[in-house]
């Protein structure tokens, strides 16, 4: 493209420059946001405030979000739903689940039988990638990845969750809003 002289401003452009229309436009933008922040609380829809007051107001995570694991219990008897079938450990691509079963003697229909029940469940959240394949594999809907996202700890050992932690959940500080 050739070099051409800078085009002369038209009369309306000169008028705009004289009355500083562009400056006023810019100031209208900031004023609009300021007024919007004071009146319009919904930041996603309009010019309101986007900030989430995190520890006080918990963010809404997406419905398909996968977070901290949990071992569900029977709501009535409070016994674990886990049948120690080891399917979750087999499904895990990261190999971060260890199901440790134990044998118990039970009497079924008058006969003495041996049965595998859950003794200990080790879930290494530091290696977990939250793919939820274990949740898919679980036949009794026992293992579930919840929507809790506060998984940070002070040591590597803290990432390894045992059965008690998986059943009770970890204690985190809760702030009132």
């Amino acid at each position: 493209m050739p070099l051409v002289p800078v085009p002369k401003p038209t009369f309306s452009q000169k008028l705009k420059r004289f009355f500083m229309v562009d400056l006023l436009k810019g100031m209208a933008v900031t004023l609009g946001f300021n007024v919007g922040a004071l009146t319009d609380k919904d930041g996603v829809a309009g010019k309101g405030i986007y900030t989430e007051q995190y520890p006080k107001v918990r963010p809404d995570v997406a419905p398909r979000f996968h977070g901290a694991p949990r071992l569900n219990m029977d709501p009535e008897t409070h016994e674990t739903l886990c049948i120690a079938c080891n399917l979750c450990a087999l499904a895990c691509p990261e190999d971060c689940i260890d199901v440790i079963p134990m044998d118990v003697e039970v009497v079924v229909a008058g006969k003495a039988r041996r049965k595998k029940v859950l003794d200990e469940f080790i879930f290494d959240t530091s290696r977990c990638m939250f793919c939820a394949l274990c949740q898919e594999a679980c036949p009794t809907y026992c293992l579930e990845l919840t929507q809790d996202f506060e998984l940070a700890t002070y040591s590597r050992a803290g990432f390894v969750w045992n059965r008690e932690m998986l059943e009770q959940g970890r204690e985190t500080v809760k702030y009132e809003s």
């Binding site: 493209m1 050739p2 810019g26 300021n34 922040a37």
Partner: protein, 440 residues
């Protein structure tokens, strides 16, 4: 001069312990000074809070929210933090000057508050009859503090920042001082209380007579306070923090206070000179005329604070809207635009006042009511003065563009004589069409 009709119950209480002279000339001034220092410090502290909040709102954020409800105690927490921080002194700093500089800055900014008329009666500490000169003289001492701070820090960033800010403040003070003169011609006095009463007795704000004066005064005020868009001395991206780079802890907070106090001073003086100070229409009629003297003073005080607050908001608003100037643009604006504009304003206003005075007798018109408090104009005179003020906007604009006809430094587009035009059809997306041959 110190005609106090202060709250009577405290007055009578004090008169039991001291003589009348002591009460009037010592005790009351000290009470007023204490109140003004406390209020100004609070105002300065909460100006920082407001600045953070407003900047947050303009960026769709919340700002400080944790300390107290809506973060209202944040300035106090900040102050406590700064008090307990280490007061660090650089190795080869000029220790004495380094120590003294922040105090000069704070004193220069705060002492101006002594002459600012916050309200009509007991809300004035002193009414110096050269108040405007006092304000200009004392507030320019602040430059000395910046130079001393920058020099004594023994740091290149601080020195560069101090150089920049002193050059900037000195050059903008010229147009600031000249911009005031137009308003002074209408007020016919240098006393700040006198200027307010000149506006109050004529029921008009000088901004109507002097629109261009207010604009020049505000721009120079913002530039003199080294605030954005003129914050080159503290340009973070180039100079770390400017002249107070090496300061920490309480000394740094003194500079911070001085900056905000200087802002408050400029807003207060602009309010007094152009926006009528504590005068607001109808307030007098509904309070003082009906005998509520203290209500009159308090309402006037609130009016004054509200006007100054509006101007303070303008500061924040401009800061978060406009980007920083280049240094040559800054000097251009000061010397090539604001200074001629201020001079033109003086000339046009002087001619205008002469015309108004000339129209008074021979034409049979009555333009001047009285000269007891300011230039008391009749309705005709007021209309003429306002018309001259509005015409002055266009006269100044035209003359400025004449003066800067050949000045291309301020405008980058004009510096470039030729540009490479990209010839694209209108209404189409700006993507160069790719022919199938060249794509392969």
């Amino acid at each position: 001069m110190f005609a106090f009709a202060a709250p009577t119950f405290i007055d009578s209480l004090l008169l039991k312990f001291f003589s009348e002279q002591t009460v009037n000339y010592v005790i009351w001034p000290f009470i007023q000074i204490g109140l003004v220092v406390v209020i100004t410090t609070g105002w300065v502290a909460y100006a920082t809070y407001l600045e953070r909040k407003i900047s947050a709102f303009m960026q769709a954020r919340l700002g400080p929210m944790r300390v107290g409800p809506w973060g209202l105690l944040q300035p106090i927490a900040d102050g406590l933090k700064l008090l307990t921080k280490e007061d660090f002194i650089p190795e080869n700093a000029d220790r004495w000057i380094f120590f003294v500089a922040p105090y000069i800055a704070v004193v220069a900014a705060f002492i101006v508050m002594a002459v600012v008329p916050f309200g009509p009666d007991w809300a004035v500490i002193t009414d110096v009859n050269i108040g405007v000169l006092f304000v200009l003289a004392v507030s320019s001492v602040g430059v000395l503090a910046l130079i001393l701070a920058g020099w004594s820090s023994n740091s290149k960033y601080a020195l560069l920042g101090a150089l920049r800010s002193s050059a900037q403040m000195v050059s903008y003070e010229v147009s600031m001082g000249l911009a005031i003169i137009g308003a002074l011609m209408f007020a016919r006095t240098l006393s700040l209380s006198g200027i307010v009463s000149a506006q109050a007795s004529n029921s008009i704000w000088f901004v109507f007579y002097q629109p261009i004066g207010l604009v020049i005064f505000l721009i120079s005020g913002i530039a003199e306070n080294n605030r954005a868009p003129f914050d080159l001395p503290e340009a973070e991206s180039e100079l770390v923090a400017g002249f107070h780079t090496e300061y920490s802890g309480f000394r740094w907070s003194l500079f911070f206070m001085a900056e905000y106090a200087a802002m408050v001073v400029v807003t207060a003086v602009a309010t007094t000179l152009y926006l009528g100070g504590w005068y607001f229409p109808l307030v007098y009629r509904f309070t003082e005329a009906k005998g509520f003297h203290h209500a009159y003073v308090v309402i006037s005080l609130i009016v004054f604070l509200a006007k100054a607050g509006l101007l303070l908001y303008l500061y924040f608003w401009l800061r978060w809207t406009l980007p920083r100037f280049r240094y040559d643009q800054l000097m251009d604006l000061g010397w090539k635009w604001l200074l001629p504009a201020a001079l033109i304003n003086i000339v046009v206003t002087a001619i205008g006042i002469t015309v108004i005075q000339g129209l008074h007798n021979p034409a049979g018109l009555r333009t001047i009511k009285s000269l007891s408090a300011g230039l008391g104009l009749t309705l005709t005179g007021t209309v003429i003065a306002i018309a001259i003020g509005v015409a002055n906007l266009f006269i100044t604009g035209g003359l400025l563009s004449l003066i800067n006809w050949r000045a291309r430094d301020f405008n980058l587009k004009k510096q470039r004589r030729q540009i490479r035009l990209v010839d694209l059809p209108k209404g189409k997306p700006a993507v160069v069409p790719v022919s199938p041959e060249s794509a392969t």
